[in-house]
C-alpha cells in the first residue's frame, strides 16, 4: 500500500471584498469551503472545475503562496508551514497557469536556469564548479527538448511552447516530490497541447514525481490522472 504524500484537511479560504469608494472591507468572498482530500505517492490527481471555482487558490495554498483561513495541509505527515523554505523548495513546486508570468522579463533564460540549478546544488549542500552547473543545464535542456540557444534569449523572445518548456525546466531543476500543474495547456494552441501531454507523461516516468493536474477539461483529466476531484463554488462535489 502506498503512503499519502499530501493531505488537505478542511481547508477554507476567503478573500476580503472592498468598497470601491473608500476601499474599506465590506464583506468576504469564500472561495474554498472545507476542502479535504489526500494524494498517494507517485500518483496523479486531477482537480476539475469551472473557471473561478477556487482551483488556483487551492494550488497556491498547497504551494505555500497563500495561507488558508482554517484547516491544514500536510506534506509527508507534517504541516507544510512548519518546513523551512529551503526544505519545502525540494518538495512542492507549482507550474503557474501562464508560464510567461513566471519568468522575470528583464533576465535572460540562461541566468534564470543557472540560478535555479545552483540553488539545487546549494539545497543539497554540494559545492560545485561552473562546469558541473553547465553540464546539468545541458542535461535539463535535453530533457525538455530545448536548444542551448534559448539560454541567451529573454522571455519575450520565446514562443509559447518554448516558454512552457522553460517553465517546466525551472520547476524540474529542484527535483520536487510533488508538482502542481495549474492549467498547463491553457496558454498553448491545440497542436502544442498534444505535444505537451505526451511530454508530461514522459517526464513523469523519468522524474517519478506525484502531481496535481488542474484543468476544466474532464476528458483530459480522465486520460491523464489516476484519481479526480471536482470542485464547484469552492466545495468538492465528487471524488
Amino acid at each position: 500500500m502506498k503512503n499519502n504524500i499530501l493531505e488537505v484537511r478542511n481547508v477554507t479560504k476567503s478573500y476580503p471584498v472592498y468598497s470601491q469608494l473608500l476601499h474599506t472591507k465590506i464583506t468576504k468572498k469564500i472561495v474554498l469551503k472545507n476542502i479535504t482530500f489526500s494524494l498517494e505517492e507517485n500518483t496523479a490527481l486531477g482537480v476539475l472545475g469551472p473557471s473561478g471555482c477556487g482551483k488556483t487558490t487551492l494550488a497556491k495554498i498547497i504551494a505555500r503562496i497563500e495561507q488558508p483561513d482554517s484547516g491544514e495541509v500536510l506534506f509527508e505527515g507534517r504541516n507544510i508551514f512548519s518546513y523551512p523554505n529551503k526544505t519545502f523548495a525540494c518538495m512542492v513546486q507549482l507550474l503557474f497557469q501562464n508560464p510567461y508570468s513566471m519568468l522575470n522579463p528583464k533576465l535572460n533564460i540562461g541566468f534564470l536556469i543557472k540560478e535555479r540549478v545552483r540553488q539545487y546544488f546549494k539545497l543539497n549542500n554540494t559545492k560545485v564548479e561552473d562546469s558541473t552547473v553547465n553540464k546539468k543545464i545541458s542535461e535539463l535542456l535535453e530533457t525538455v527538448k530545448l536548444s542551448p540557444d534559448v539560454l541567451k534569449m529573454y522571455p519575450y523572445q520565446l514562443s509559447g511552447g518554448q516558454r512552457q518548456r522553460v517553465a517546466i525546466l525551472l520547476v524540474l531543476c529542484l527535483y520536487p516530490k510533488l508538482l502542481i500543474l495549474d492549467e498547463p495547456l491553457s496558454a498553448l494552441d491545440v497542436s502544442l497541447q498534444a505535444q505537451m501531454l505526451n511530454f508530461f507523461a514522459e517526464l513523469k516516468q523519468q522524474f517519478k514525481f506525484s502531481y496535481i493536474f488542474i484543468t476544466h477539461d474532464e476528458n483530459l483529466a480522465e486520460y491523464f490522472c489516476d484519481q479526480i476531484i471536482k470542485i464547484e463554488n469552492g466545495e468538492i462535489l465528487t471524488k
Partner: protein
C-alpha cells in the same frame, strides 16, 4: 544599438540648437538693455552708451548676432562678460566645479537614500516604517525648498551655530591644515546638499515604493521565492532590477531641475556656483554670460538625459533588442 545612439545624438543636437535660439531671443527681447543696466550705477552720456552698443555689436539685427555668436561657440569662444571683460568660459569654469559638486552629491544621496526608503517601504507595506516615511516624504513634497532653506539657516546656523550658512569656504580657509580644509568645505555643503536632496528624494522614494509593490506582487517574484532563497535576495536580484528603469528615467529628468533650480537656491546660500552667477548675469543683462551659462547648462542637461538613455538600454533588454 549604434543606430539608436546616433538617432539620439541627432535629436539632442537639434534640441540643443533650439534651446540656444530660444534663450538668445528671450534675453534680447526682455526689457532692460546692458547699457541701461550700467546707467543705474554710473551716470554715462548718450554718446558713450552708443559707443557701448556698437562695441558689443548690439546695433546689428538679432539673427546676425545669433549667427555670429553660434560661429564663435563652435570654436568654444563664448566671448567676454559685459560687466568686467573677463572671458565667459573662465568665469563659468571658476563656478562650475562648485555646482557639479553640489549636484553630484545631491543626486548620489537622492539615489541611495530614495531607493532604500522606497524598497523598505514596499517590503514592509503599511507597517510603522512605511507610514513614518510616507509622512516624511509628503512633507518633502509639500515644503517649498527656499522656505526650508531659510528655516534651516536660522535653526542650524544662527540659533544653534552648528553649521555655516553661506558660501563654500570660511574666510580663514587658506590658513587651515589639509584635513581642516576638507572639513570646512563639508560643513558648508551639509545644509545645501541636505535641502536640495530632500525634495528630490521624496519623489524618488514614492516612485520606488510604488514600482516595488507592483513588482513584488508579480508571479515571477512568487516563483523566484519558491526556490527557497531569502526574500531580500529575491527583492534585490529580481524586483529591484526591474524598478531601476523608472529610477533611471527620473534621475535623468531631475538633472535639469538640479542645475536650473540652483538659481534661487544658490543665491539663498550665497553658494559660489553657476546658479548664483546666472542670477547676477541676468540682473546685469550680461548677454554673453547668460548665453554661456544657458548653453553649458543645456549641454549638461542633454548629456545627463543621453547617459540616462544609455543606462536605460542596459537595464531593459527589451529596449536593446528593438
Amino acid at each position: 544599438m549604434i543606430k539608436l545612439l546616433l538617432n539620439r545624438i541627432v535629436v539632442l543636437f537639434i534640441t540643443f540648437i533650439g534651446i540656444t535660439v530660444i534663450t538668445f531671443v528671450v534675453i534680447n527681447i526682455s526689457p532692460g538693455k546692458p547699457q541701461d543696466m550700467m546707467d543705474m550705477s554710473t551716470r554715462i552720456s548718450f554718446e558713450a552708451k552708443q559707443r557701448l552698443v556698437k562695441l558689443y555689436g548690439l546695433d546689428k539685427p538679432l539673427h546676425i548676432r545669433y549667427f555670429n555668436w553660434f560661429l564663435r561657440v563652435i570654436r568654444l569662444d563664448f566671448g567676454t562678460s559685459f560687466k568686467d571683460d573677463k572671458p565667459v568660459l573662465k568665469k563659468i569654469s571658476e563656478r562650475l566645479p562648485a555646482t557639479l559638486l553640489l549636484n553630484i552629491l545631491s543626486l548620489g544621496i537622492i539615489f541611495f537614500v530614495g531607493c532604500t526608503i522606497g524598497i523598505l517601504s514596499a517590503m514592509y507595506q503599511n507597517k510603522f516604517f512605511d507610514k513614518l516615511t510616507t509622512i516624511v516624504v509628503f512633507l518633502g513634497y509639500s515644503i517649498p525648498r527656499y522656505w526650508l532653506a531659510i528655516l534651516c539657516m536660522i535653526v542650524f546656523g544662527i540659533k544653534l551655530n552648528w553649521l555655516p550658512i553661506s558660501g563654500l569656504r570660511s574666510v580663514n580657509w587658506e590658513y587651515l591644515p589639509f584635513v581642516g580644509k576638507i572639513w570646512d568645505i563639508l560643513k558648508h555643503l551639509i545644509l545645501p546638499v541636505a535641502i536640495s536632496s530632500f525634495s528630490g528624494l521624496a519623489g524618488l522614494a514614492r516612485y520606488v515604493r510604488g514600482s516595488m509593490i507592483e513588482q513584488l506582487n508579480c508571479e515571477y517574484i512568487k516563483f523566484a521565492l519558491s526556490k527557497g532563497t531569502q526574500r531580500k535576495k529575491v527583492v534585490f536580484y529580481h524586483a529591484f532590477r526591474n524598478v531601476l528603469i523608472p529610477v533611471v528615467t527620473i534621475l535623468g529628468l531631475s538633472l535639469p531641475d538640479l542645475i536650473g533650480g540652483g538659481f534661487i537656491f544658490e543665491t539663498i546660500f550665497a553658494y559660489p556656483g553657476m546658479g548664483r552667477l546666472g542670477y547676477e548675469a541676468i540682473m546685469a543683462r550680461d548677454y554673453p554670460l547668460i548665453m554661456g551659462i544657458g548653453t553649458i547648462t543645456a549641454a549638461l542637461t542633454l548629456l545627463g538625459n543621453f547617459i540616462a538613455d544609455i543606462v536605460y538600454v542596459y537595464v531593459d533588454p527589451r529596449v536593446r533588442y528593438k
